[in-house]
Amino acid sequence: MAENEPKIISFLCNWCSYGAADLAGVSRMEYPSNIRVIRIPCTGRMSPKFILAGLNQGADAVWVSG
């Protein structure tokens, strides 16, 4: 990625947002490739530590969706 390209880490709930991301593919939508998805069983699984770790590892943004 170029310098001005943000690095985004996302935590997607297996039951909704992860499925929605699949559907975006099935629908042949397009979006920038800056995102790296980590599938979690439920956003209930999210811990603040994951967000902090993501930022600490150089992510420019963390997106939790569920």
Binding site: R28, E30, I38, C42
Partner: protein, 1251 residues
């Protein structure tokens, strides 16, 4: 392409010799296919040349001998030997051939003899038959003709002879034919060519005598004819005109009136039988003659026919001869070759008509002076243009492009050749679920569906809204792809309509889908889009539907117009549609729309009517499978069940309910056979990998071109191989294909892998498949991680292959890091108690209990009242007219008599513990309590009638609720016979702001009772005051009948309800009529209030089973569409009016459905929990109780005994693996197996490598 230079396939030589008689198209074809099989083939040909009629029947100017000879050489080069000048019957016989060691003989001698005119003088010099004339010409025995040539006949041979005679120098050539040009069998093009070349054709003439002088032809005496009545062939029969004889002077007469088989070939051969026309008798499939091992085909067997027919026959004969020599069945799996093409693809309307391409021809002077081929063939451009006219109407042209395109080798030439086959299956029950067809509005010209592109059906509109639809999910006007500003829906197209179609029923689903389509359209296009629905009655009687309708009006601003549109007309610009209609207040309006959607109904297609006839089951007047109220999924024939829209027009939830019910009905019949035809799957023992260093295998999927078309798969694979612990990395064309699974199993074992990563599509669909592969390889299925490089990568970044490849590498790296930390997980096995509990002894509870018991499971039926029957005890007749009391008592009787149903009357449920498979419930009856252990529970607690406070209820004995009227009907109360007038008020307590749902049954119920009152006293004035009449499905017939019988329907609105006042003996009702728009007072003897159905809203019961209720107090099912008869909580099921108000047939269907769903659990005996669940490390647990309080499934509890008493523990059966407790645990004591903290961190840590 040169046919002689094509490669010769590898042929395995065989010893068995085959003799073929005749080197025409049939004989040559048979020789070709037999030679490919390796048989030595000898063809015996009477003529000095090969090709048969192609050589000596078709003149050279149509088929040059050089072309034919090349084709023949392509066959002889396979080793086929042709012996010319060898005639059967003269030089050889079948017996001499057999004696020479030929295993089989194929008779393909053709039809080279001519029909005779049977007129005097036919043998005179100068008379020569057409076939002979053409043969001698082809063999160059006759090179010129002189004088006037007369040809008799109207077929291709006559034309060929005439055109040949022209080329050979005849002074004049004429054809005489006894009918007219219209009846001539020769092809039009040939006739045109002959006329062009100067041939004269004389119609309506028939020869009667050859005129000769000195034994030489000088003329032909003819008769004139006229056309009479048609004969058997449909052509008009020529009738001679008496006294019209005349003589045409001529020098040569060529009769060309037909060919026949010369039977001389059978001289000296026995055992081959002929028809009376001398054609050979052969089996239509095997081509075998009456003599074993001797086969026949081509013109000699079929009579004179086209060359391609002989080619086909030759190929079939080759197959038979191969089978004969191999000793196989000659006919198995074969059909006669003359199978007419069926199932043509529909030819689209409005196809542009283009003229045919015409081949260039040689100049006329060359045509008249020699036998050079006339047509020069198509140029490449012409050939392409002509080919592009193909309408593709044949279902398959066997181009095999599909075989080439299928990268997975699922479609091969062999599978492509598979044909429909008839199989017999022994079954105990049949379930019919064949569905419906959407009504085709093509015939309705006033809607312009055929001509206006912006008029679409609702089904087409569904596709237009779909992301995979014709416009990629972008809502546009079909004619010009502009975004629409205004869309209208017309309801009841093909439903509730006896004039334009025969569908007088209501299709049940259209109101709701039209609202849904309008709401989705607004969501797509935003507030600028205007949506209007034109309807007769708005029918939204389903669960949550009324609220949806209300929201559509108030929140989405969708306009509802109660009006019937007559005509849709185009506008001058062509894109907009003009719609004229009358509003409710009588104004005539003209409105423009961009798109008009026709809400088409559901109907049974004719082929399903045929199916019903074949199966001998009865249909309703609307052509749906006939069922009874108390047996809603059983057809009229025992053992045949029905579900879905073939039982009646219905929506998805009702279809799913029916489907489960039909399965239960079949299961009841076949309970004794349960588990008798099962196979047990064998899996290898699980390898212990604990403590082993990770050895990871990475499988990167190409998914055909879905991934490989964007992502550089080989580079991802090579990158994966460099990652820590990766021992093996590969790529696959389709990782999910069966053969790849087998290969993966082998690789895992050979490479001794103990962790697997698949980079492919989405784990949501494919994870279980790959986990199965791990099990088959002896690995624990949780030693697996799947990463999504298709749906979330190649498909969404298709224009950025480099970045997509980089992302795929990152995703693989993250997955590898995580899988290295995976440990084998255990799934707890849990036994399922085989006892069922049904709560509620009404119709639904009774039906559920009976179904469970009939399927072999002990069932406890709990009823709070002192008798079984519930609300049905107060009901009179069903919509189909069935007597409810009689049927109910039969149902109760059958349950009471059933040994394995235990009935608990006057009993309440006072406590429930446990979980799926192992519930423990406390039943209390008076002072007695009973602990009941059961594996599943069915909630069938029903609902109650609303007690009205409105409409002066209670102020007069003549103001009743619907159930009170039913009670009087059951009791045959004498007051019913004294009535002169009666009035029903609908929606009492339903569809009100505080109860925003429709009670579904009341419209039908009131109409039914109105008809009952009319039956008792036809002169009675009966009024029904309603808001929308909701007689969905075939209940519509009752509504029509009521109107026919004079029941008066008056519509009122919610904001202007009727006013009821009890006055002395009579009751006064004032209502504002929607037609007159003025209040009017009706004085009647009886008022019946169609009261709402109100749920009990039993919070305690909901808490016992941890099942939810909606705001009205109805229980919420697992899934509104796909899980209507079960709860999200495992082991608990739902049916009847506790779910939503419904009539008896639907209650019984849902009761059976709940039983069916329950049996899927009971039949398993044991179940496994998931391995990805939370687990407490008791050493770290601070016993704070947060996990216990946050878990929505009550999985964590405090241990009551043992070493860790007081600490939290998690029940693996109840845990859904959401991780809420893990995140909330302040001590870090809870681990979520499969998604543990270190595993998620490992994925996060790999992010920093991402570029």
């Amino acid at each position: 392409m040169d046919v002689e230079s094509t490669p010769i396939p590898k042929i395995t030589p065989r010893n068995e010799k085959v003799a073929i008689i005749g080197a025409g198209p049939a004989g040559l074809t048979a020789a070709y296919f037999l030679a490919l099989e390796g048989f030595p083939v000898t063809i015996f040909e009477a003529l000095p040349v090969g090709g048969g009629m192609l050589r000596v029947g078709i003149p050279d100017y149509r088929l040059p001998p050089s072309v034919l000879e090349k084709e023949i050489r392509s066959i002889t080069r396979l080793g086929v030997d042709i012996r010319y000048n060898t005639a059967m019957g003269r030089d050889i016989t079948i017996d001499t051939l057999m004696a020479d060691g030929f295993e089989s003989v194929y008779l393909a001698v053709g039809a080279h003899a001519s029909m005779k005119l049977n007129i005097p003088g036919e043998d005179t010099d100068g008379v020569i038959t057409g076939v002979r004339f053409l043969r001698e010409t082809a063999l160059y025995k006759r090179k010129t003709v002189n004088g006037h040539v007369v040809i008799v006949g109207g077929g291709d041979v006559a034309i060929d002879a005439a055109r040949s005679a022209v080329r050979m120098g005849a002074d004049k050539v004429s054809i005489i034919y006894r009918r007219t040009r219209t009846e001539m069998p020769a092809s039009d093009e040939e006739i045109e060519d002959a006329l062009e070349e100067g041939v004269q054709i004389d119609f309506l003439m028939a020869p009667v005598e050859v005129v000769a002088e000195n034994s030489k032809v000088t003329g032909l005496k003819c008769l004139r004819m006229e056309l009479g009545q048609p004969d058997e062939s449909g052509r008009r029969r020529p009738v001679p005109i008496p006294g019209s004889e005349f003589v045409t002077p001529c020098d040569i007469i060529i009769p060309a009136i037909g060919q026949r088989v010369n039977p001389a070939f059978l001289e000296g051969s026995d055992g081959v039988e002929l028809t009376k026309w001398n054609t050979i008798i052969a089996d239509p499939i095997s081509c075998e003659t009456s003599r074993k091992g001797v086969f026949a085909g081509g013109d000699a067997q079929s009579g004179p026919w086209i060359a391609i027919g002989a080619v086909a026959a030759g190929r079939q004969a080759a197959e038979s001869i191969r089978r004969h020599i191999n000793g196989e069945d000659l006919k198995a799996g074969r059909d006669p070759i003359e199978e007419p093409q069926k199932d043509f693809n529909t030819i689209p309307k409005n196809i542009e008509q283009l003229p045919r391409e015409h081949m260039d021809r040689i100049p006329m002077q060359n045509r008249l002076s020699g036998f050079t081929e006339v047509e020069k063939g198509f140029t490449e451009e012409q050939a392409c243009r002509e080919a592009s006219k193909c309408l593709n109407c044949m279902v398959c042209c066997e181009c095999y492009e599909c075989v080439k395109a299928c990268g997975a080798d699922a479609l091969t030439i062999d599978t492509h050749l598979e044909k429909p086959a008839v199989e017999n299956l022994d079954v105990g029950a049949i379930v019919l679920a064949p569905g419906f067809s959407p009504y085709d509005p093509s015939g309705l010209d006033f809607y312009g569906f055929d001509t206006l592109p912006n008029v679409v059906t609702s089904m087409q509109y569904e596709r237009m809204l779909s992301a995979s639809g014709p416009f990629g999910g972008h809502l546009v006007r079909p004619s010009d792809h502009q975004e629409p500003k205004k869309i209208g829906w017309i309801q009841c197209v093909g439903s509730r309509d006896q004039n334009n179609c025969k569908n007088s029923y209501c299709s049940s689903v259209c109101c709701m889908y039209a609202i849904k389509e309008a709401v989705i359209s607004k969501e797509h296009a935003g507030d600028d889009l205007e949506c209007a629905i034109f309807f007769m009655d708005m029918r939204t009687p389903g669960k949550e539907f009324e609220q949806f309708y209300e929201n559509a009006k108030t929140k989405h601003g969708i306009r509802f117009e109660r009006s019937r549109i007559h005509t849709i007309e185009p506008t001058a610009g062509g894109n907009e549609l003009s719609v004229r209609y009358v509003t409710e207040d009588g104004r005539m309006l003209n409105e423009l729309f961009d798109i008009m959607v026709l809400s088409v109904g559901l109907e049974t297609p004719p082929e399903l009517v045929d199916l019903a006839n074949r199966l001998d089951i009865d249909l309703t007047p609307g052509n749906f499978a006939k069922t009874e109220s108390f047996n809603p999924v059983a057809t009229s024939r025992e053992g045949i069940f029905v579900c879905g829209a073939f039982q009646g027009p219905k929506d998805i939830p009702q279809s799913v309910i029916d489907a489960s019910a039909a399965a239960a009905a079949a299961g009841e019949m076949l309970a004794s056979a349960r588990g008798t035809m099962c196979k047990t799957k064998k899996t290898p023992p699980e390898t212990n990998v604990i403590g082993d260093r990770p050895r990871i295998g990475v499988f990167v999927c190409k998914c055909g071109s879905n991934i490989a078309g964007v992502v550089d798969v080989p580079s991802v694979r090579d990158y994966a191989a460099t990652l820590p612990h990766v021992e093996y990395a590969t790529d696959n064309m389709y990782t999910c294909s069966q053969d790849t699974q087998d290969i993966m199993t082998q690789i895992i074992q050979e490479q001794n892998l103990n962790r697997v990563v698949v980079a492919a599509c989405t784990p949501k669909t494919h994870e279980p498949l790959f986990q199965e592969t791990l099990i088959n390889a002896g690995l624990n299925k949780y030693l697996f991680e799947m990463t999504n490089i298709r749906n979330q990568n190649s498909w969404v970044h298709k224009n950025n292959p480099e970045l997509a490849t980089q992302k795929a590498k990152d995703l693989v790296r993250m997955a590898v890091a995580k899988v290295a930390l995976m440990e084998p997980l255990e799934e707890s096995e849990l036994s399922v108690n085989q006892t069922a509990m049904v709560i509620g002894g009404g119709i639904s509870g009774l039906a559920a209990a009976r179904s469970l018991a009939d399927q072999g499971y002990e069932t406890h039926l709990i009823e709070r009242d002192s008798q079984l029957g519930g609300q049905a005890l107060n009901l009179y007749h069903t919509a189909q007219g069935d007597d409810i009391q009689r049927n109910l008592s039969q149902l109760i009787n059958s349950v009471e008599k059933n040994d394995i149903v235990k009935i608990h009357l006057n009993t309440k449920l006072t406590n429930v513990e446990g979980f799926v498979g192992n519930f423990k419930s406390t039943l209390t009856s008076g002072d007695n309590t009973l602990e009941l252990e059961h594996g599943i529970a069915v909630i069938a607690t029903g609902a109650a009638p609303y007690t009205p406070s409105e409409y002066s209820y209670g102020k007069s004995p003549d103001i009743l609720t619907a159930i009170e009227l039913d009670k009087k009907l059951i009791a045959d109360d004498p007051m019913l016979n004294k009535l002169d007038s009666a009035l029903f008020i609908q929606c009492v307590g339903s569809r009100e702001p505080e109860r925003m749902y429709c009670s579904r049954v009341c419209c039908t119920h009131s109409i039914e009772n109105a008809l009952e009152l009319k039956k008792r006293n036809p002169d009675m004035n009966v009024y029904i005051l309603y808001r929308d009449i909701r007689t969905y499905g075939e209940k519509e017939y009752l509504y029509r009948k009521a109107r026919e019988q004079g029941v008066i329907f008056i519509r009122y609105s919610l904001d202007n309800k009727p006013v009821v006042v009890a006055k002395d003996e009579k009751i006064s009702v004032t209502v504002t009529d929607h037609v007159l728009g003025r209040p009017m007072e009706l004085t009647v003897d009886l008022v019946t209030l169609a009261t709402a159905i109100v749920p009990y809203g039993d919070e305690q019961l909901a808490n016992f089973f941890k099942v939810p209720m909606n705001e009205n107090g109805f229980f919420i099912e697992k899934h509104a569409k796909l899980g209507p008869s079960e709860f999200a909580t495992d082991g608990t099921f739902l049916c009847g009016m506790a779910h939503y108000p419904k009539p008896i047939d639907e209650s019984i269907a849902q009761a059976k459905a709940a039983a069916s769903r329950a049996v899927t659990l009971l039949a398993r005996k044991t179940i496994f929990s998931s391995g990805t669940i939370a687990e407490v490390d008791p050493g770290k647990c601070a016993a704070c109780g947060v996990c216990v309080s946050v878990c929505p499934y009550s999985a964590p509890t405090f241990n009551e005994e043992g070493r860790f008493a007081g600490k939290a523990g998690i029940n693996p059966v109840l845990c859904k693996g959401c991780g809420l407790c893990v995140a909330s645990c302040r001590s870090g004591a809870i681990h979520l197996k499969g998604f543990d903290t270190d595993q998620i961190f490992s994925q996060i840590f790999e992010i920093n490598e991402a570029v």
